[in-house]
């Protein structure tokens, strides 16, 4: 094991092919490496005020009385506000979407009025000159509470003896059933039927930078500028506008450096809406940065599923059908505007995804509970669908006494079967399951590894190998949110501007939170225009300057934003050549742009440096023919439309050692073969996959938001909620198959969520492979030493 191979280095290498596919280090990393980034909490404004929230200590309680007298007298306090006061400035919302038929949620306010529905829901806000003073005053707020019965358990929520929102009649937020027909018949004729129930713990994103917002209202122009650690600036612009009653054109959202997001920073948070409202109310800038304890209580959580799954197959190992029953709990509200119904919906869409069976039945219930809200976090539903699919497939392999890789090979959808419609109704343009499987087995030297595992077993060392094949939603079309009525753009635009010095400025609606978006846009723009990558500057994350767009979520940045940049780059190249043709009095078809020079296309003889062309076009257009006008700023847009989603595929493997005495799992190595279409920058892609794998490993082994029976979060701090550390993580080997999507010229599919989607399933299967000879099996994530010891009947 050792270092990843050092990738190719640009600038300058293989420029004839452009920068696509090259590991160019990204320019925007430089400021971050010197601590000279600009995160929202780094910003300081004149008259800046700070807000701290008074949060419910109970999971479910009526607020009978709030007394702010002492808090108001506390030093530095500017104002103390309850939910009613803030509601006058901020309209409530409801997290429902029309295409999730029947989904329901009560209204949610920026600050809860009368009743708190989870421990940590804010019921009052203190604004003061410093955050410390605001926190001091929060401690002086007096409240009388009437505790209400809390619904904490999913099954109890479903049973509905206690109903959280009486006006809804029961605790069901959303349910869905899907049936191809013929499922019972398939099970009846199957040689082998396996069934198991899997539990997935709640966990959360733990961005090292807490949620952060600085809202700056200007009463003189009735305008609001929001510096926001967000993934979706335009979505937030629309929401601030509609809920605060400020014309959209007067709202500007700026996402500067964002310290990790992973889906956590793409939702509407009540405390952030309250911060914006308080800025309007107080007519001054107000900042809120969630501290770590309130992050655990109020950042969205995710997962928490209990899923029963059955699989039917023949004795030759042909899978005939899947039958699924998923129960998932989302807290007391469906989160706005994306809803909390999507994760369960994805589990229904994706279960069994890599395989060619034709019969499928699924039932899914999404229920309300009195815990923190859950919503879309990295890989949304995929980790659940992949883990339960792959676990039950391994279970079948065990029953059939067949090698798990062989069982997969017999059932993966053939590489020549596309386009393909899966029994859940989703459509695949082109996937490469068999090629990825072959590549994985070769990469990990599967046969030798199995032999090694057997040797270790003889020595009494318990090792296991686990595989997990997967499909992933990327490049979503408007079918994801837009069709349901959400004002969330599936389209993105890119503007490219040719500057007088020969530089190219790129502006794009997709945002950067470290994925390397700006870096790959520079690579694409440079390749499309014909300049070196050092000549490109990229600006993202500002609704005041970039084209309208969706931002960053659902693995869409490279595939959608990147295509817009490519199209704009090609158009700009053509427009530059128009100028060159008139300057040089040559035919445009004879000219090309290579390395910042206009050249003769055939001889490659240098004709005109772009800096000189820029000077003429911008400052001496008087020297050009009167009927010629140069156009050196172009905008192009792209929306994927042929398919609802551009599916990518991949497969992962995990190699672990389980200590049967302590229950500890040591991760020995991890592999991921991914087909995300065109790879723009392998170095960025690989480390993004690795980061995703590590988050998936966190879910499999360490991370869980634990609640007591009264709905109290028991481990809401970084010492008790464990996230993966460098010493525990294995080296992760990545490889690629490239099946470009034909829906775009770039051919890129998304990759940001792949690692997280597949890793939990691979680790789960590896642990169970290790435990199998000991007659033990685990089915509840995370697989803590305690759970493993219980499975081994040691405790």
């Amino acid at each position: 094991m050792g270092k990843a191979e050092l990738p190719l280095h640009a600038p300058g290498t293989q420029l004839d092919k452009g920068y696509i596919g090259q590991s160019v280090p990204r320019a925007n990393a430089q400021r971050l490496l010197q601590g000279r980034g600009s995160f929202t909490d780094d910003l300081i404004f004149p008259r800046l005020a700070h807000v701290a929230f008074f949060r419910s200590p109970y999971a479910h309680a009526r607020v009978k009385r709030l007394d702010f007298k002492r808090a108001l007298r506390s030093p530095g306090v500017i104002g103390v506000f309850d939910g009613r006061a803030v509601a006058e400035y901020c309209k409530p919302w409801m997290g429902v979407l029309a295409h999730l038929k029947g989904i329901r949620s009560p209204e949610q306010h920026a600050i809860a009025i009368e009743r708190a529905c989870w421990q940590g829901e804010a019921v009052a806000a203190v604004v003061a000159e410093s955050r410390g003073q605001a926190e001091d005053a929060v401690g002086l707020i007096e409240a009388d509470w009437e505790e209400l019965p809390a619904v904490v358990d999913m099954d109890e929520a479903l049973a509905g003896k206690v109903v959280i929102h009486p006006e809804l009649g029961d605790n069901i937020c959303f349910k869905r059933e899907h049936d191809t027909g013929g499922v019972d018949e398939a099970f009846a004729k199957a040689d082998v039927v396996v069934e198991e129930t899997y539990n997935f713990g709640r966990h959360t994103g733990v961005c090292i930078e807490g949620r952060a917002i600085l809202a700056d209202y200007n009463a003189g122009e009735h305008s609001l500028t929001v510096y926001h650690a967000t993934q979706a600036p335009h979505m937030m612009q629309d929401i601030f506008s509609r809920h605060l009653g400020i014309p959209e054109a007067n709202v500007r959202v700026i996402a500067k450096d964002v310290g990790g997001s992973y889906g956590i920073k793409v939702h509407v948070y009540a405390d952030e809406m309250a911060t914006a409202a308080l800025s309007v109310m107080l007519r001054r800038p107000v900042k809120f940065v969630a501290d770590r304890l309130e992050s655990f209580l109020s950042d969205i959580h995710a997962r928490e599923h209990k899923v029963k799954v059955r699989l039917a197959c023949t004795k030759e190992g042909e899978i005939l059908a899947f039958d699924l029953d998923d129960l998932t709990a989302i807290g007391p509200y469906s989160v706005y505007p994306r809803t909390s119904g999507i994760e369960g919906n994805q589990v229904v869409n994706l279960t069994g995804g890599p395989y060619k069976h034709q019969k499928y039945r699924a039932k899914m219930n999404v229920v309300f509970t009195n815990k923190n809200v859950t919503c879309q976090y990295r890989a949304v539903g995929h980790p659940i669908a992949v883990a339960l699919t792959e676990a039950i497939v391994d279970r079948a392999a065990l029953e059939l006494k067949m090698d798990p890789a062989e069982l997969r090979r017999r059932n993966l959808i053939p590489d020549d079967a596309y386009p393909y419609t899966f029994p859940s109704g989703i459509k695949f343009e082109k996937l490469s399951h068999h090629r990825t499987l072959d590549k994985l087995l070769e990469l990990m030297d599967y046969k030798s590894l199995r032999a090694q595992q057997a040797d270790f077993r003889k020595k009494g060392v318990t090792r296991g190998i686990g595989l997990a094949a997967m499909i992933e939603v990327t490049n979503p079309s408007p079918a994801f949110y837009g069709v349901g009525g959400a004002r969330i753009s599936a389209q993105d635009g890119a503007t490219l501007r040719f500057e007088p010095t020969g530089m190219v400025t790129v502006l794009c609606g997709v945002t950067e939170q470290g994925q390397g978006t700006e870096g790959i846009f520079a690579q694409i723009a440079a390749s499309a225009v014909g300049v070196t990558v050092d000549k490109v500057r990229v600006i993202t994350g500002d609704t005041g300057v970039t084209p309208y767009g969706g931002g960053t979520w659902a693995s869409r940045g490279a595939g959608i934003g990147g295509e817009a940049v490519l199209l704009a780059g090609r158009a700009l190249r053509s427009n530059i050549l128009d100028v060159a043709a008139v300057v040089l009095k040559m035919d445009k078809a004879e000219l090309d742009i290579v390395k910042n020079e206009v050249v003769n296309r055939l001889t490659l003889e240098a004709k005109l440096p772009l800096a000189e062309l820029g000077r003429i076009a911008h400052f001496r257009p008087d020297t050009l023919p009167v009927d010629f006008q140069s156009e050196l700023t172009v905008t192009r847009s792209y929306t994927p439309r042929q398919y609802a989603f551009t599916f990518s595929n991949g497969i992962q493997a995990s190699y672990v050692e389980v200590d049967p005495e302590t229950g500890f799992v040591k991760l020995l190595k991890h592999w991921c073969v991914e087909d995300a279409g065109t790879v723009i920058n392998p170095m960025l892609v690989d480390e993004q996959i690795r980061g995703g794998v590590v988050q998936g490993i966190g879910a499999a082994l360490y991370e869980e938001c634990l609640y007591g029976p009264d709905g109290q979060l028991l481990n809401g701090n970084m010492a008790d909620y464990l996230v993966p550390m460098s010493s525990e993580m294995p080296d992760i080997v990545c490889a690629h198959i490239e099946t470009p999507t034909k829906q775009s010229q770039l051919g890129a599919k998304g990759v940001g969520e792949a690692g997280t989607a597949g890793a939990p399933g691979a680790v789960m299967n590896a642990i169970n492979d290790a435990l199998a000879p000991l007659g033990a099996r685990v089915t509840a994530m995370p697989f803590t030493p305690e759970r493993i010891l219980v499975a081994l009947r040691k405790i």
């Binding site: 050792g2 270092k3 990843a4 050092l6 280095h9 590991s23 280090p25 990204r26 990393a29 430089q30 971050l32 490496l33 010197q34 601590g35 000279r36 980034g37 600009s38 995160f39 909490d41 780094d42 300081i44 410390g132 733990v206 961005c207 090292i208 930078e209 807490g210 450096d257 964002v258 310290g259 990790g260 997001s261 501290d291 770590r292 939170q513 470290g514 994925q515 390397g516 170095m683 960025l684 480390e687 996959i689 690795r690 980061g691 995703g692 794998v693 590590v694 988050q695 701090n717 970084m718 010492a719 996230v723 993966p724 550390m725 460098s726 010493s727 525990e728 993580m729 992760i732 690692g755």
Partner: protein, 155 residues
């Protein structure tokens, strides 16, 4: 501020004197009073390591040390070590390897890496992983960070 304590310390080579509230921790003081925002706050309870700075040659958690405790001390931050060039090789290796994504953990990661380089310049891959375990990164898989440090130590 009635209990503020006059404190004098050297920050990145420059002596500063301020009246500081006793409860103010070092990282907040550096960020908010001195505008040195390269040191970050990730948990304020000593776990994530994002607030790592160097005090009298030892790396410490800026959230666990009070600013007044730094009276008479020599404090160095990412800004200072960047300008002096002390981190240049590590920074280049991090850049070449893309050993950062969002960059929020990165200044502290570099401080920890430099500490290892000074104390155990021949550290193995395992030792690098262990040394970094007090610094959380939620974006990378740690591997590029370990690779980058290995490049510098053994390159």
């Amino acid at each position: 501020m009635e209990h503020a304590v006059e404190t004098t310390l050297t920050v990145n080579g420059i002596e500063v004197t301020r009246r500081i509230e006793p409860r103010r921790n070092l990282v907040d003081f550096l960020r908010e009073e001195l505008g040195l925002t390269g040191s970050h706050v990730g948990c304020e309870h000593g776990v994530c390591g994002a607030c790592t700075v160097r005090v009298d040659g030892e790396i410490v958690r800026g959230c666990l040390m009070l600013a007044v405790q730094a009276n008479g001390c020599k404090v160095e931050t990412i800004e200072g070590l960047s300008d002096s060039g002390e981190l240049a090789r590590l920074q280049k290796a991090f850049h070449d390897r893309n050993a950062l994504q969002c960059g929020f953990c990165t200044p502290a990661m570099l401080m920890a890496a430099r500490d290892l380089q000074l104390k155990n310049p021949k550290a193995s891959r395992e030792e690098i992983r262990t040394h970094l375990s007090g610094n959380y990164c939620r974006c990378t898989g740690y591997q590029a960070i370990v690779d980058a440090i290995e490049d510098v130590l053994h390159g």
